[in-house]
Symmetry: C2
Subunit: 357 residues, 2 copies
């Protein structure tokens, strides 16, 4: 049996490559790192030797010697949801291009105090950190900032600090969705909030209120129910909304997942979507297109957010001068089949049409 890998067996090292190519290990290292001061022909010889020998760089040694680890960490709250999946897809794409690997950390994993946690993360294992929608990033940020460790916040703009982050135009997106509903003729629009400790949830509620105000519709607190971005929240919220003496003709859920809950509740009330109640979501996760009727929603460019954040992080890693920036990507209203004018407006339209004839 061949010796087990990772034991004391001999791997192909830059020494071997150097010998094969007739150069020094240093030169091989230079080629490896795409540095200058290597004559093209030597570079070529090194490259050939590498492929011939099947050389694979040892990241451990590389980073131990003071180079980069070529690994970035992703601190994520919840894996296994489309929202996260889409963002990771974007991250991975950039990482492949940059020859980087991804270390996955879930926030709920440890009970140890944050400082130690971050210390572990930053201690050589990774060159930088991507923080995906952390509930309370302050704990990490402080330590990260102090150590001048590269990081980028994804979809988190609620903090006052001027830290590197990429998010979407939550307020505007929410405004657009609400305005769309209003323009369809809806006047009583229910709203299911997201986790209000999150900036994006607050922004979405703000956008809703702003659109109402701009269209001269009084804000009715009774039409707002609190949720936490989960499907059951949408279900419960819509049930409450539909039980109102004067129920809404449309319901806006702060994310697609809770919109699915809303759809279930509407149907459980024996009502149809969109004939009886219009439903609109936020995010445009893949399921939004797969559900029936197709969910009209506000598209967040999740994948692109992941990409941009990664690019920003990578740039920080390469260039210590660059400290990142705050980017807001535009949202976009994706119209599918879950919304239409309310009954009253439709009848009105019919009447008008008849008159026109």
């Amino acid at each position: 049996m061949p010796p087990r890998k990772n034991s004391r067996s001999h791997n192909v090292t830059i020494m071997d490559v150097a010998r094969e190519a007739g150069v020094s290990p240093t030169t091989v290292s230079r080629v490896l790192n795409n540095q200058d001061h290597v004559r093209p022909d030597k570079r070529a010889r090194v490259l050939t030797a590498m492929t011939r020998l099947g050389y694979v760089v040892n990241q451990q040694a590389r980073s131990l010697a003071g180079g980069r680890s070529h690994v970035i960490g992703l601190l994520v709250h919840e894996v296994g949801v489309s929202y996260t999946g889409e963002i990771i897809r974007g991250i991975e794409e950039e990482l492949v291009a940059a020859q980087y690997e991804l270390m996955l950390y879930t926030t709920h994993r440890r009970k140890t105090k944050e400082s130690t946690y971050v210390a572990t993360l930053t201690r050589g294992m990774t060159d930088g950190l991507l923080l995906l929608l952390p509930l309370n990033p302050q704990a990490y940020l402080e330590s990260l900032h102090q150590e001048r460790f590269p990081y980028v916040l994804i979809d988190h703009q609620g903090t006052n600090e001027a830290c590197p982050a990429v998010a979407a135009t939550n307020r505007q997106g929410s405004y657009d969705a609400t305005a769309y509903l209003i323009e369809l003729g809806h006047r009583r629009i229910g709203f299911v909030t997201g986790e209000m400790r999150l900036g994006c949830a607050v922004d979405r509620l703000d956008g809703y209120k702003a659109a109402l105000a701009d269209h001269g519709i009084a804000f009715d607190p009774a039409l707002v129910v609190e949720g936490h971005f989960q499907q059951p929240d949408g279900y419960a919220g819509a049930n409450a909304l539909l039980a109102l003496p004067d129920p809404p003709t449309a319901i806006f859920a702060s994310n697609d997942v809770s919109a699915f809950g809303v759809m279930d509740a509407v149907r459980d009330h024996g009502l149809r979507i969109p004939e009886d109640v219009s439903v609109i979501g936020f995010d445009d996760i893949p399921e939004a297109a797969h559900v029936h009727p197709g969910l009209t929603t506000v598209r967040q460019p999740l994948e692109q957010m992941g990409r941009l954040a990664t690019r920003m992080l990578l740039r920080q890693i390469k260039d210590p001068e660059y400290t990142g920036e705050r980017i807001e990507l535009p949202t976009e209203l994706v119209i599918r089949q879950s919304c239409q004018p309310p009954r009253a407006a439709r009848e009105h339209t019919t009447v008008r049409r008849k008159r026109l004839k």
Copy 2:
């Protein structure tokens, strides 16, 4: 400004700890690795020194020196779906206990040939690999096996090789679900398959057929439609099934996600669940409980599968003699609200009841 971490700044090393504790670096290393032959009092002194100095182990150095990297890799086909999320949850739990980190690899990321890919994975970065439902694991397995690199297959039993794997009793689970439907009185049961290149999909179809046969119901190929575990497959499949001259009274989807598609289709036909059509799924992902009506399904212990696989992998890493095993975890029928006896049977029951009176 403090120097940027990971640059040439001085980190606390075992040398520092050794000095502080008045022992040799080796002893510190022994404490670090929970090895024997260290007197309790010295161990205590080392531990104190560590916390006092805020020592954090450097994994890179550790694995470079021939020890373990304390990282395992997870090769996953699709992140961002509950199925994967649940399994990862289980993996993480075990990893935390073992002080291991998780490296995430997605199968679609690279176009480079598999051998190089695996070489990269196995080259020191990770101590072992978890393969989550790879479509064609052969490419990896061969190389892995050859290098005697620790790995465990999760939810993949279709290969003939006797390789370490943990899966669920797909065939039995499917049998149970079908039998349940039959016992409710259903005779025409539609079946939406999964991705048939996957062993688990084949097993589930087998279980369906076996249950039919055992209950003296002829297998009708017209009642089986092919899918790929996706929601639109369930939708299309159910549409086809319901358009049949003699449509099924119940539909069994090979996984919950496609069952959601089935539910949509049933409702789009103006039919109710479970009054008109019963629907049953497979997996028991969290959404199955959040949907309305609650989806009756076959529970796969996903989280536990992740845990067991991880434990098996960790054991392989620690003990080179142990080469792993094949484990099948039992599935369990979770009854919610999406199934009930078919109309005919219900009427029949009513009649019988009346007679009994």
